[in-house]
Symmetry: C2
Subunit: 350 residues, 2 copies
């Protein structure tokens, strides 16, 4: 990150006049891509950016064209991309070098070059504030520490900062779905399974800490959000109310669409099949993107989504019919009591 890259074009965010939120620094590893093209004698390069970075495709392509032989074709995926699951396997299979920007891999692959994207927002000021919500280290030194892929580059700094203040920092890598020690995904919080009653989550957004709090209801979850500059205590109550409302609404359903998501990392085939085997009023529907438009034409009374839990819970209110996670479906169909409502998580890799 400290190399001199002044020869790079505007593809490198550091050289732009653009006022990006929190001035994200982005070393997009041009050299690594150029080397891979040369090593593999590649004729085609595929690029994939998350939605918020698709606008950089032009500049990154310009840089690559400048550094690559004329006969190499660079192309960018136009498929929606919100996470590591959204790997464009079509483009991956059809290009000699495939670069996925902004997400960490669920599993390393020789075929794919993963280029991480780190936020360079300072985390210590908000951690300082979060101390008021953590127990005094003299009384309760144990604290779990988790963050998201975007802040992973600061993880060791966070740990040291807490240790300097007398805390005993407990971290773990979670399971195979997670690349880094201390990393959480929207669908996996295994890295918070540590021997501490309090967890400090450093990161932005609302979805991750909600899942974290629901997955670990016995722990005190403190959210230090350096992006929005606020410290809060995870409280899943409002979220739970929304979910209960959806479950209640779905109890009247006479038929169910059971969504099997075809995206890498989101397919839970056994779960989907088990549902339709045990319910004659359940019908299997396969798709990649799960959107309100795509479901409307089927006209089922309710849906159970075996794919990404973020779609079900975070986007849920956009759908016209109730859409439940598999666990919520079990409650709605009377197989489990309402008290067992929990967050839907994924384990294992693709």
């Amino acid at each position: 990150m400290s190399q001199d890259r002044s020869e790079y074009s505007e593809g490198d965010l550091r050289n732009t006049g653009m006022s990006l939120k929190h001035d994200r620094e982005w070393d997009y590893e041009l050299d690594r891509i150029v080397d891979a093209v040369s090593e593999r004698d590649a004729e085609t390069v595929g690029l994939q950016f998350p939605e918020g970075l698709k606008r950089r495709a032009k500049a990154v392509t310009d840089d690559l064209r400048e550094h690559l032989p004329d006969d190499v074709t660079v192309m960018t995926s136009g498929q929606p991309c919100y996470g590591a699951c959204d790997l464009d396997t079509y483009l991956m299979r059809r290009t000699d070098v495939f670069v996925h920007f902004g997400h960490s891999p669920m599993k390393e692959s020789e075929k794919i070059i993963y280029v991480p994207l780190f936020s360079n927002v300072e985390v210590t000021p908000i951690m300082e504030e979060s101390l008021a919500e953590l127990a005094d280290p003299d009384e309760e030194p144990a604290v779990g520490l988790v963050t998201t892929a975007q802040h992973m580059n600061k993880f060791e700094d966070m740990r040291e900062w807490l240790e300097e203040r007398g805390y005993e920092v407990h971290t773990r890598r979670g399971d195979d779905r997670l690349t880094h020690e201390g990393q959480v995904l929207g669908c996996n919080y295994a890295s918070a399974d540590v021997d501490a009653d309090q967890i400090l989550y450093v990161g932005g957004g609302k979805f991750h800490p909600l899942g974290l709090a629901m997955e670990h209801p016995d722990k005190h979850v403190v959210i230090a959000d350096p992006v929005n500059n606020v410290v809060t205590i995870a409280d899943p109550e409002k979220f739970l109310k929304q979910r209960y409302a959806s479950v209640h609404k779905a109890m009247d359903a006479e038929n169910w669409g059971v969504i099997f998501c075809t995206k890498i990392g989101q397919g839970r085939w056994e779960q989907a099949q088990e549902i339709i085997e045990n319910n004659d009023d359940a019908y299997l529907v396969t798709m990649d993107e799960v959107t309100p438009d795509r479901l409307t034409n089927f006209g089922f009374d309710a849906y159970v989504n075996t794919g990404c839990p973020r779609i079900t819970t975070d986007d849920g209110p956009q759908f016209k019919q109730p859409m439940l996670t598999p666990g919520e479906y079990e409650i709605a169909t009377g197989q489990k009591p309402m008290e067992e409502l929990s967050f839907d998580t994924f384990h294992g890799t693709w």
Copy 2:
């Protein structure tokens, strides 16, 4: 179509109380699907319906479940489907029997069962009205006859009806992209390349006859629309004005997104590659569904779509930036004069 199928459930539209527009009759060939499952010893059956028929998935699945062994899993594609190009190749590859409803194949495949969907609206009343727009058969007997897949079952009736009135009916199969004699697609009007100065198009919708008239500007194209019960003369003027406006707007573009559509039958790779090879300000973007949302994040000034021309021209006004067909792109970039604006067509199969 005249067999007794009273044992079938509501999956067969004839047995429903649903008041479908023009009372479409639909023999969905349950026996053929059941036989294929038995012959192939299939464990999985995939179904794909066009958008307007997705609501039938439940009833068709019910029928199949009743007739198939218990261990056969039936699933339905939730991917958008507007034509034969929208084949869900993911589901096709992963099921033992795959049934595509409502479109005729571009190419026969042993793997896929194509179940056509025919409209049973009467065509002769509107053909009677269309006679006023055709030349007197004593003076000019030659007339070309074309229709869409939905009315293909009535094609021989149409021909005979015209012949009885003294016309010499000219038809042809078009090219490899078309399954039937006299069939047109939104992207292919080769079946109208007949030795007649007047063409009778029997079918609904506006897009097909527009393409037809633009592709054959020398011919008098009479539209007999039995769905909306109107006879009109194809006049591409308004359409052309819209296209000219888009081309003019795109002339100011400093950069271009070049869309390569990954759907079967829509990929024109050489064309896409030729554009980016000859224009440093053109960038290749690959996607299956081409929607305004997917393009917005890239921020290119204009787009050229090498995929489905219907998306470009019919949906064009929904897109924030001008989107052109490859031919229109050549005009906008000064490679061809404005007078050469023509309809974008596809030839050959997938």
